[in-house]
């Protein structure tokens, strides 16, 4: 594309002649695709063209340069050609999909968190989100997180190590694996072609190999973690063969852990029902019939195991429960997100029942509009009010904000938000907790965008906090996310009527159906 054609197209854009600008740049792009040309074409296409054309040019530009550069250049043109809210939401979706939400792992943590236990493992970790002693990372489903074959073991090892690089190495760390007996018995990886009805010597031999692989992995983890490293025992199940093999695997891993100086957290006896020779029903989650995962009711049992191992004191309180608001996910390793999935009774097949999945779904819709809006204000100062455990700010790419302050409702939410932010490598986000003196300290500041989040569990408190903060700061633009439009409208008193966008839908729990994003 010639510099002359580009210059002419820019001049046309600046003069408001978008059609001519697009014609010039489109003609030039036929001969010579260029990054600058596609970004300019995207800006010209914002007027009178379908948004798909804008997105198409932005995607082509992204094929020629990093998306950060695309956004920087595109934002530069938006002073001449502002986006409609519809276009902004679609451009925002592209921004959110194209820019990383994860920063590099933090080699040194300047944001400190309270003592907690990192828990890395399979779907079994989900029940631990019910207590703030634990930081549970669901790094992959069973098939991707086991040591049945060399190939699977390498995948599992990589997932563990890449996630481990993001946790606080000074904290104790518990590994939760144990999918091998189940997937072996069902021959999912061709390791048990005979599908015998009873446990065989070949099954036991494979469990010994699995234990050897665990040893390699745990030794590597021990080298990277200065806190204590622990392995949770494999759990009983409802299929006798699986339970027998899990028990056998435990006898092997316990000996191995003692040999290499790794803690073995043994809660088998408290979870095993001798009358049924299976997992105790009252300890199991209820996502499906015969759910073999543990429910939050098993947390005191795990506390007992940790006490016996000397990891926590007798005074540690298993009732200090924590309630996450969202399902969090980060693409640490390509091919599957690491999730902070805070529900034992929810799995992908019944996820539509989940309040936390609903909150995340509504939040994601709002984030697309927010990212699109921020594309028009490079380097914006953004204030999130009622940030809970940080879902909204942590799911906006760093590149779209100049400064981000997020006010969590309580110190408990702040603690979890900081753990997740450290994991995500996002220490540029300033999280703080609501408190009496906050108004004094923030008074008089001007923010380009204030985003108020209103969660149905504590809507009245959320509104009160938002009104108090809005009373002492200036919000150039105010956005509110709420399942209750009328309540959220009260935040806009004295401002022009906000624009309303429906971001709920009928497929999520009912109280989220009418969720809206108000902006004005």
């Amino acid at each position: 594309m010639t510099a002359v054609a580009l210059k002419d197209a820019q001049t046309a854009l600046e003069a408001g002649d978008y059609e001519q600008g697009l014609g010039l740049v489109d003609a030039a792009l036929v001969d010579t695709p260029s990054f600058e040309g596609h970004v300019l074409a995207a800006a010209c296409a914002l007027h009178g063209q379908p948004v798909s054309k804008v997105l198409g040019h932005l995607r082509k530009a992204a094929g020629l340069a990093p998306f950060e550069r695309v956004l920087e250049r595109f934002s530069g043109y938006l002073t001449h050609t502002p986006m409609t809210p519809e276009a902004a939401a679609q451009v925002g979706a592209l921004i959110n999909a194209s820019l990383p939400r994860l920063g590099p792992p933090l080699a040194h943590r300047l944001v400190r968190t309270r003592r907690h236990i990192n828990v890395l493992g399979t779907s079994h970790v989900r029940f631990l989100s019910g207590h703030d002693l634990f930081f549970p990372l669901f790094i992959g489903m069973g098939p991707d997180t086991l040591a049945l074959t060399e190939e699977r073991f390498e995948l599992c090892r990589r997932k563990l190590m890449d996630n481990l690089a993001r946790v606080d190495p000074a904290m104790d760390t518990m590994i939760v694996l144990d999918a091998e007996p189940y997937y072996h018995v069902y021959n999912n990886f061709g390791t048990r072609p005979g599908m015998e009805a009873q446990v065989t010597e070949a099954d036991r031999e494979l469990m010994r190999v699995v234990c050897d692989r665990y040893e390699v992995m745990l030794s590597e983890i021990k080298d990277r973690i200065s806190g204590r490293v622990m392995l949770l025992n494999a759990l009983p199940s409802y299929l006798p063969t699986v339970t027998q093999l899990a028990h056998y695997l435990n006898t092997q891993t316990q000996t191995m852990c003692e040999r290499i100086g790794v803690g073995f957290i043994d809660i088998w006896d408290e979870l095993y029902d001798p009358s049924t020779a299976a997992l105790r029903r009252d300890m199991a989650a209820e996502a499906y019939n015969d759910d073999i995962h543990l429910s939050e009711r098993a947390i005191p049992t795990l506390f007992n195991g940790l006490r016996r191992a000397g990891v926590i004191s007798a005074e540690a309180d298993p009732d200090r429960l924590f309630q996450y608001g969202y399902l969090h996910g980060f693409m640490v390793v390509p091919g599957g997100e690491t999730r902070i999935w805070p529900e034992a009774d929810i799995i992908p097949t019944n996820a539509l029942r989940s309040e936390k999945v609903a909150a995340a779904h509504v939040g994601k819709k709002a984030l697309d509009a927010i990212a699109g809006h921020l594309a028009q204000q490079p380097g914006a100062r953004v204030l999130f009010v009622n940030a809970m455990e940080g879902y909204l700010p942590l799911n906006l790419p760093k590149a779209v904000m100049g400064q981000c302050i997020a006010v969590c409702p309580t110190p408990e939410y702040l603690e979890i938000a900081q753990r997740i932010a450290n994991f995500a490598g996002r220490d540029e986000i300033k999280f703080t907790a609501w408190r009496n003196d906050l108004l004094d300290l923030i008074r008089g500041r001007t923010f380009d965008l204030v985003v108020v989040n209103i969660h149905p569990d504590h809507a009245a408190d959320d509104l009160a906090r938002a009104k108090a903060l809005l009373g002492v700061v200036t919000a150039e633009t105010l956005m509110a996310i709420s399942p209750d439009q009328a309540a959220a409208m009260t935040l806009f008193e004295g401002r022009p009527a906000p624009r309303t966008t429906l971001i709920g839908n009928k497929h999520i729990p009912e109280r989220w159906h009418e969720s809206v994003l108000l902006a004005g």
Binding site: V111, E428, D440
Partner: protein, 260 residues
């Protein structure tokens, strides 16, 4: 030398900076942090002296001078403000970080972050423990009685452990020395901390216990230099001697990149 003022968006505040540049290319950066209840102007003379060899940045700490008041106050919060300032404004540049008093403690904490390329760290009489700093306590109480701002109250409590007349906690900063990744010079004076006397004398924060701890635990990382006839604000008392010592320190630790 060209002198410009600018405001930079930090992590939780807007920071006021004065830049002193000679126009020469590829110079390392010298970032100068002042102490409590002061502002960047107190570092101007050192900045001028360094500006031939460095692009100098004088920074008002959050809540001081022309910088915005922070919403949370802690050494960690202030250090992160400095880390993000350097990452944003001087990405990838080698840095000489000089911090006076609590500015030194903040610089020490920031220097531990491996995203930064801190080649030289100079701490000017940093209070490595605070309960014994009777003069800081007296000064803080007087300031709080004159200026009852929320910020000053939080700052005194967070940095020095001074809450009010009846409540004081110790703040121990020795452990920050363990995270040092490169050479560190501590410059102090010879005006002893004890006995207690008129607090406006500005006696040194470091005492024999601190020297013993540094010598026993961190001798491989830290060089201590004591300047004659100087107290806590050693740079103000003996600027020439300080500059010569800093120049010698920088000269004796060439630009070899510090391993992360």
């Amino acid at each position: 030398m060209q002198v410009t003022n600018e405001r930079v968006l930090g992590r939780q505040t807007t920071l006021a900076l004065t830049l002193m540049t000679s126009g020469a290319k590829h110079l390392p950066v010298a970032l100068l942090l002042h102490g409590a209840q002061r502002n960047r102007s107190v570092m101007a003379r050192v900045g001028e002296a360094l500006s031939e060899r460095f692009d100098v940045a004088l920074c008002d700490l959050p809540g001081h001078g022309e910088s915005e008041t922070p919403i949370d106050v802690s050494v960690d919060d202030y250090a992160l403000e400095i880390v993000h300032l350097l990452l944003l404004r001087f990405p990838g540049r080698p840095v000489l970080l000089i911090g006076e008093s609590i500015g030194g403690v903040i610089g020490l904490r920031a220097a531990a972050d491996p995203r930064l390329d801190i080649r030289w760290l100079v701490l000017l009489d940093p209070p490595l423990t605070t309960a014994k700093q009777w003069h800081i306590r007296a000064n803080s109480l007087v300031s709080m009685s004159r200026n009852g701002s929320t910020f000053l109250r939080l700052f005194s409590a967070a940095m020095f452990g001074v809450f009010d007349q009846d409540r004081q906690e110790d703040r121990l900063y020795y452990d920050l020395l363990a995270d040092l990744r490169g050479p560190c010079l501590i410059l102090t004076g010879d005006l002893p901390l004890h006995p207690q006397r008129d607090w406006r004398t500005a006696m040194c924060c470091l005492d024999a216990t601190d020297f013993w701890v540094i010598q026993k635990l961190y001798a491989d990382k830290v060089v201590v230099a004591r300047v004659k006839d100087a107290g806590h604000t050693v740079l103000t008392h003996q600027p020439q001697a300080c500059l010569e010592t800093i120049a010698h320190f920088v000269g004796s630790h060439p630009m070899a990149k510090v391993a992360a």
